[in-house]
Subunit: 137 residues, 2 copies
């Protein structure tokens, strides 16, 4: 994870096929359990910061800013491996999920809705009340 | 997987937060090994067909058409589970990968490039020559 300072013009970052809005989807997978935790978005800076610091950084499309995963919650993702796919337009992170909670709802992961009999069914438990994680309001 | 015919107006499909171009990213994860195989894109019809048939369908952004995974290669993805994330804008499929090859390069999966010392390094083997899979040309 010592790719140096967050140099967004590095050759390996240029090799990524960024979309017209400068993003690629990034999957975070738990290194120990293999569970897929989150899908978020990266821009050049997020990927550079992720590689430089060893902690997952994303681009928040709703807040339009760089976001260090866990900056509010403490639920940091320590990055063990960064992968790119055959089309150079999707990232796969292998991470250690600090606190065992990746989702802002207090669940282990964001994919807690399962299609069952034509309905999305929530089948994974809330491990921690979001108000405890983020504070009230 | 018996969500009925491929009805793209079903309530559970409307619950997905489709992007302005009508797509969401869809991750395919091997049900047995837990390996993340592919990231592809779905439109309403792809998701409806996936649920109705139990085989992964995607939207090809380059060819601009619906695509049944494995239609040329035989490397079909049999879908065991369809999940949606907390923001309703990403899909996770748990699949049985027929033939054990998900990538058009003949590798098990598309994420065969690992960032190492500032370079993307191919660290996974080609299991089958693409020319054998797809024929010459």
């Amino acid at each position: 994870m010592s790719e140096g300072a967050a140099d967004t013009s590095a050759v390996w970052i240029e090799a990524v096929r960024w979309s017209s809005d400068g993003l690629v989807p990034a999957i975070a997978q738990d290194a120990a359990s293999g569970r897929v935790l989150t899908l978020a978005w990266m821009n050049r800076d997020a990927l550079a910061q992720t590689a430089a610091t060893g902690e997952a950084h994303y681009w928040s499309r709703s807040r339009r800013r760089l976001w260090r995963k866990g900056e509010s919650s403490g639920h940091v993702q320590k990055v063990r491996e960064i992968r790119l796919d055959c089309d150079n337009d999707a990232i796969l992170l292998s991470v250690e999920q600090v606190g065992g909670i990746a989702c802002h709802t207090g669940r282990e992961r964001c994919f807690f809705l399962r299609l069952h009999d034509g309905h999305w069914t929530d089948d994974e438990p809330v491990l921690k009340d979001p108000e405890t994680i983020y504070g009230p309001g």
